[in-house]
Amino acid sequence: MRHIISILVENEAGALSRIANMFSARGYNIESLTVAPTEDASMSRMTVVTVGSEDVIEQITKQLNKLVEVVKVVDLSQAEHIERELMLIKVRAGARERDDMKRMADIFRGRIIDVSDNTYTIELTGDGRKLDAFIQALDQGAIIETVRTGASGIGRGNRVLRV
């Protein structure tokens, strides 16, 4: 099963590689990993998307907690949560395709953030499935370049992760 795990970690050099290392050393999957400082600059928040059986996910959270720099770990997928990912996608948009492309971006609530003679760069946020759907919806030949951040997640309502 796919799980989305949030980690609060001391903002120290090496903390990221310690976490990434643990995943590779123990043979766990990382589908995506995002990290950036929180409102408290001494701490970073990381979101890891992984797949594994319940046993594996239990071990992953335990092994994460065991790392000295990890402050807190939460498996967001255990309850209601929101997931967002940002994608920047550069597409072919010559005179013939322009209108179609604009309409498609609108349907997915994407924004065109850069334009050249024959390209658009579209910014799109949503959960991973929405981004996948957008890519699917395009003529594959029209895609020049994509970059995705990987998912960030947060619990719904009163579910919070902080120290």
Partner: protein, 584 residues
């Protein structure tokens, strides 16, 4: 050596005195009460060595290879419960230390490794003797630090000692660039440190402990399975009280030998791949298994699917949540410091008038005695060749079971574990998790350093001993009268045994050709060497060697090359699917 600087101690108490990083390192060690430091100098740590020279509180022991330093610090720690400390230089100093660090990590040994690093401005430049020490050791330390500012040095060292010794212990490395050792700042050693991200538990969950007590009281075929955690947390006396109170059978893993007295009737022997028949049968057939500070290692439970075939309730007490339900699902997990948990459990049981059903326990013991009657450790006592088991029995007799015994890795290790009965914790010192050949001799040095005057034996094989042989020179320098029991079968015996059983007798590269004359070799290092090749000479040789209180004696026992370790659970099999000696 004269190193008298009387003003120093007074001077730096005065606030505002600045110390160099190198001075700070040494002062931190003094403040931590470190008496012995194992190390090897080099460019990046010269300033630290300079400061060591100027004081005499911390004794530096110069080894002959950094691996030896780490194993010695390890043996020091295992035999004393103190944190082992070592100091190595950058680059090759660190890489040489890695085997030792990984060894300590696998067995959860509290240790602090100080390593030199190239100056901060040179880091990342492929400088001379640069290696990414923090990166290279990351997977085999509990934690590590690179000190980037002299102002952080004292706190970092304090944290290192704190992390190494608390929670599930382990090695912690502090990498110190050379320029940091010359920069200076005001020194104050913190009395304590706290880290919001690190809060080891002590007390176990009261509700879980109650559930455990309930299971214990309902048990009909109980079994206590205790491991290295009991020794590391100094819980052996409580374990003994617990097992005796209940009258339950008990096993200690390879890492836990001595936690419950090995000569006691309730002790069934070691479990696992080379465990006793009675223990493996009891582990498999019990209805309540109490795992205490043990981690269901693959060498202990064999094939997990086979282990799971028999229904039983499992209580697992451990300080490390990630050890629980890792390989085997448990019913009552209790995360906590073992002495605290056992205290609470004992209090509950003592306050309760109920006891496990006596008739059921009696029937269980009857069954166990039948298993025990198989006498699974028997060997040919009439052989004209020296049987390794016989040497260990005699070693036990001659040392009255009171020696510290270190070991290397191989058949000799298993025989030592089977035949030397450890009645006390911290007497059996071996590399269980990583299985590091070369561990025995340097570990024995550390043991003797931590226990001056104690009898220390190193049980080894002709292959293992050659992996850290250079430390014989250290033994000479520091007059460490270790007794080396070399069970010389001219083979990597354990490899040969697997090749015999599972690879059609094809002894690929496991024969030890061109062996040195160990007697001359020992003499070359300034020690005494003896060769023993007849069974009748075994006991006299041991007696004479141990009578020489001040000498290192290298006893080269020429043993039966064909002897195997029994029982044996082949890889992938269940623990009751043992090969017994009588079946061959």
């Amino acid at each position: 050596m004269f190193k008298v600087f009387p003003a120093l101690a007074v001077m730096d108490r005065v606030k505002g005195v600045e110390l160099s990083g190198a001075e700070i390192v040494v002062r931190c060690l003094q403040e931590e009460g470190v008496e012995t430091l194992f190390g090897y100098p080099g460019g990046a740590v010269l300033y630290i060595y300079d400061e060591l020279f100027k004081q005499d509180k911390v004794r530096h022991v110069l080894v002959r290879h950094e691996q030896g330093a780490v194993h010695a610090a390890d043996g020091y720690s295992r035999s004393s419960h103190k944190v082992g400390v070592c100091l190595v230089t950058s680059g090759p100093g660190v890489t040489n230390a890695v085997t030792g660090i990984a060894t300590a990590y696998m067995d959860s040994i509290p240790m602090v490794i100080l390593s030199g690093q190239v100056p901060t401005h040179a880091i990342g430049q492929d400088a001379f003797q640069e290696c990414d020490a923090v990166g290279i050791t990351r997977p085999c330390v509990k934690h590590n630090f690179l000190v980037k500012d002299v102002k952080d040095l004292a706190t970092t060292i304090k944290k290192a000692f704190y992390l190494a010794a608390t929670g599930r212990p382990g090695p912690v490395l502090v990498d110190i660039p050379k320029d940091i050792t010359t920069h200076s700042c005001e020194f104050q050693y913190p009395e304590s440190v706290s880290m919001r991200s690190y809060n080891p538990v002590r007390k176990g969950h009261a509700g879980q402990i109650k559930k455990a007590a309930q299971l214990i009281l309902e048990a009909k075929r109980p079994m206590v399975y205790s491991g290295g955690g009991v020794i590391l947390s100094n819980a052996a006396p409580r374990l003994t009280e617990f097992v005796r109170l209940l009258g339950f059978p008990c096993t200690n893993t390879l890492m836990g030998l001595g936690a419950y007295p090995g000569t006691d009737r309730q002790f069934l022997g070691m479990p696992g791949m080379h465990g006793t028949y009675e223990t493996n049968m009891a582990m498999q057939n019990c209805d309540v298994l109490l795992a205490i500070g043990a981690r269901f290692d693959d060498r202990v439970i064999g094939n997990p699917a086979h282990f799971a075939q028999n229904p039983r309730k499992i209580v697992h007490i451990d300080i490390d949540p990630s050890s629980i339900s890792k390989r085997v699902k448990v019913d009552v997990p209790i995360v906590g410091n073992i002495p605290d948990v056992l205290d609470d459990l004992l209090a509950l049981l003592k306050a309760d008038a109920r006891r496990p059903e006596a008739a059921a326990l009696e029937a269980w013991w009857k069954q166990i005695e039948l298993w025990r009657a198989r006498d699974c450790l028997k060997y040919d006592r009439k052989s004209k060749l020296i049987k390794p088991q016989f040497v260990l029995e005699k070693l036990y007799e001659v040392t009255k079971g009171e020696a510290f015994v270190t070991s290397d890795v191989g058949q000799h290790q298993m025989w030592a574990a089977q035949f030397y009965k450890f009645d006390r914790p911290r007497r059996w010192i071996n590399s269980g998790g990583l299985g590091t050949m070369g561990f025995g001799l340097p570990a024995a040095m550390g043991v003797r350093m931590a226990n001056p005057g104690a009898t220390v034996a190193c049980v080894t094989g002709e292959s293992s001993i050659q992996m850290c042989l250079q430390e014989l020179s250290t033994c000479k320098q520091y007059r460490l009268p270790i007794k080396i029991v070399n069970l010389n079968n001219k083979y990597m015996g354990m490899v040969r045994q697997w090749q015999q059983f599972f690879h059609g007798n094809r002894y690929s590269e496991s024969y030890m050709d061109a062996l040195p004359d160990f007697v001359k070799l020992a003499e070359g290092y300034g020690h005494r060497g003896v060769l023993i090749d007849k069974p009748a000479d075994v006991e006299p040789a041991l007696r004479e060697a141990f009578a020489r209180k001040d000498e290192l004696v290298f006893m080269d026992f020429i043993t039966d090359q064909t002897e195997n370790v029994y029982p044996m659970v082949p890889g992938g099999k269940g623990i009751t699917e043992m090969i017994l000696s009588e079946e061959l």
